[in-house]
Amino acid sequence: MPFASIDDLESALAGASYLPDRGLSTALYLSLKLEKPLLLEGEAGVGKTEAAKAIAQALGARLIRLQCYEGLDVAHAVYEWNYARQLLHIRAAQEGTVDESELFGPEFLIRRPLLEAVEAEEPVVLLIDEIDRADEEFEAFLLEVLSDFQITIPELGTIEAKQRPYVILTSNRTRELHDALKRRCLFHWIGHPSLEREIEIVKLRVPGVPERLAAEAAAFVAELRMLDLQKPPGLAETIDWAHALTALGQQELDVENVETTLGSVLKYHEDLLSVRDETLAGLVASARAR
């Protein structure tokens, strides 16, 4: 445990260009301290994946990421045999001299993220991203891996973790996860950051952003979140947008530059249509008034 206190961890994360709120730093600190996986939930673009990357950097650990999707199976999550090499090996050898145990040996194994994390010698952060997208069968399998950190390959036997990887799971809540999985994890819901923090984050993540522009962009996005939109913009959108505006050499918001760049904040045609003309002018005015 490289961090003595929550404050310690916060400053290490800030060094990795990540500014968590107190809740998230407590969650990260506790999950390291109690050696339990951390389940992060929240709307898209609030920085769930970024949190894992930042803590890996702060810990000086390697980040291993498993992106989940519907139909994810063992061959893509754990391991697969390198069939092409196996066939070539049989061909190259003298007939009858290859036996099965040789053919299904470690050198013919393709390691996927979970096996990689279990086998790692150095400290690793294992990020299991968007677990809610994987099938429930996979969730059950994952539960097994997370409880004893060992993986059984029929041809090779059981591989045990030399050290427990630090595990972070993220979910967009497209479905409720299984209780058994949740019981294994600490749970933290990440909300949108406060305005002050969002301005801080934008300044940290967008090099060269004018102070005024950062504040106005964050205030504008905060206003957008109050509107009835199909997809309220997340922190990631604010950062993208500030990048775009900075690249265009803008110093502050005005109706014109907002109109031309709004596509990096609102990703639905309907949302773009609803934020127009007077609405847009009003939002720009009140963002500038702050």
Binding site: D73, V98, R175, K182
Partner: protein, 373 residues
């Protein structure tokens, strides 16, 4: 280990949370104690986060936790959670329905119906059933096997008639033949049921059908994973957990207790919007077959209903609208909400009797993307 007083505090707090409906097992309490041991107890926010992250496991429980935390550690008065209304709709309350002509009623026999009676019952409009008939029809509805549309998964299964090579099997088989694949093994994609989302209108105008259709929802919920159920009149309520009870009566009571606006007015557009905002955004609709069971009598904004239907249809694999009124020979989709919704509906069906619900199953089983209505 934290001091004894802290331990007692946390254990009691765990009990308070359990009473508030959270699942707080001894494992979680132990985590909370270990967590408190690791943070500064004089920082209230750290204590709050530690307890929340160890004792709460779902977003929906955060509010109840906050209330309990407020009451327990900050000495504020406990606000009681909104009292749930007792279920209103029981079989006896079906006064509004016209009595059926019912030649099968004479003798008031309690024995099981004969074949012909059952046949009659299967094609009888739910709205014109007597309570006795409905009680018998209930069994028929529950027995409906809900056919689910299938999707192909990415996972491959060994199958000698498949088309994808099973290379692992092939390598094994090639060992004996010096690397020549003499025996070929194949795999093919498996099929799994598609997600199914059922949204039931329980407003006043649907009263005569709501009970029967809710039973259908219960049967569908029992057909396996990936079924989500909702009800709405003026606002949307998710019923999936309630309808998960095996016994239909228990499920029904629980569902009726959850829905606060039972037999209220209809706001289809607003309810669909609530669905799209809360659930569609979380990608529940993606690749799902969505079934809306409603008469389409919109009291609110019909234009909104059209817009939200369009949004729904764009995300869903297919949209089915079940309207009990369509069972009547002279029915025309005149209701404003129905007219606005129809352009975005793939299949438009009736759902006024047992037979029509059975045929819904076969439609779902064979549904394809973007059917003409």
């Amino acid at each position: 280990m934290p001091a004894n007083s802290v331990i007692r505090h946390v254990v009691t707090f765990g009990r308070v949370l359990r009473e508030a409906g959270l699942e707080v097992g001894p494992g979680r309490v132990a985590d909370a104690l270990r967590g408190l041991d690791a943070v500064e107890l004089d920082r209230q926010d750290d204590v709050y986060w530690t307890l929340r992250q160890t004792l709460v496991s779902r977003r929906g429980d955060v509010e109840a936790f906050d209330r309990a935390f407020q009451a327990w550690f900050l000495d504020a008065a406990v606000q009681p959670p909104a009292a749930t209304k007792p279920p209103q709709t029981r079989g006896e309350r079906r006064k509004g329905a016209p009595p059926g002509p019912g030649p099968e009623l004479d003798g008031s026999e309690t024995s099981l119906g004969t074949w012909s009676e059952e046949e009659l019952l299967r094609t009888k409009d739910f709205a014109s059933m007597t309570p006795e008939e409905f009680a018998r029809a209930k069994r028929l509805i529950q027995a409906i096997a809900v056919t689910r549309p299938l999707r192909r998964t990415r996972r491959l299964r060994r199958n000698s008639k498949g088309h994808a090579l099973d290379v692992r099997g092939l390598v094994r088989a090639s060992l004996a033949t010096g690397g020549d694949p003499v025996e070929r093994a194949f795999r093919s994609r498996k099929e799994a049921p598609r997600k199914l989302v059922l949204i039931l209108d329980v407003s006043g105008s649907m009263e005569a059908y709501a009970r029967a259709l809710l039973l259908y929802l219960h049967a569908a919920r029992g057909s396996g994973r990936g079924v989500e159920t909702f009800a709405f009149a003026t606002r949307l309520t998710r019923l999936t957990p309630e309808l998960g009870a095996r016994n239909p009566e228990t499920a029904f009571e629980a569902a009726a207790g959850r829905v606060q606006d039972w037999s209220g007015g209809t706001r289809i557009g607003a309810s669909l919007k609530a669905y799209n905002d809360e659930w569609g955004r979380r990608a529940l609709t993606c690749g799902a077959v969505v079934v809306i069971l409603s008469d389409g009598c919109e009291r609110g904004d019909a234009e909104l209903a059209g817009r939200e239907m369009e949004r729904l249809a764009r995300q869903a694999f297919a949209v089915v609208w079940v309207n009990p009124l369509k069972g009547h020979a002279e029915y025309e989709p005149l209701a404003a909400g129905m007219r606005a919704a129809l352009p975005h509906v793939d299949r438009f069906l009736s759902g006024h009797d047992v037979v029509s619900l059975e045929s819904l199953g076969s439609v779902l089983g064979g549904i394809e993307r973007r059917h003409a209505a």
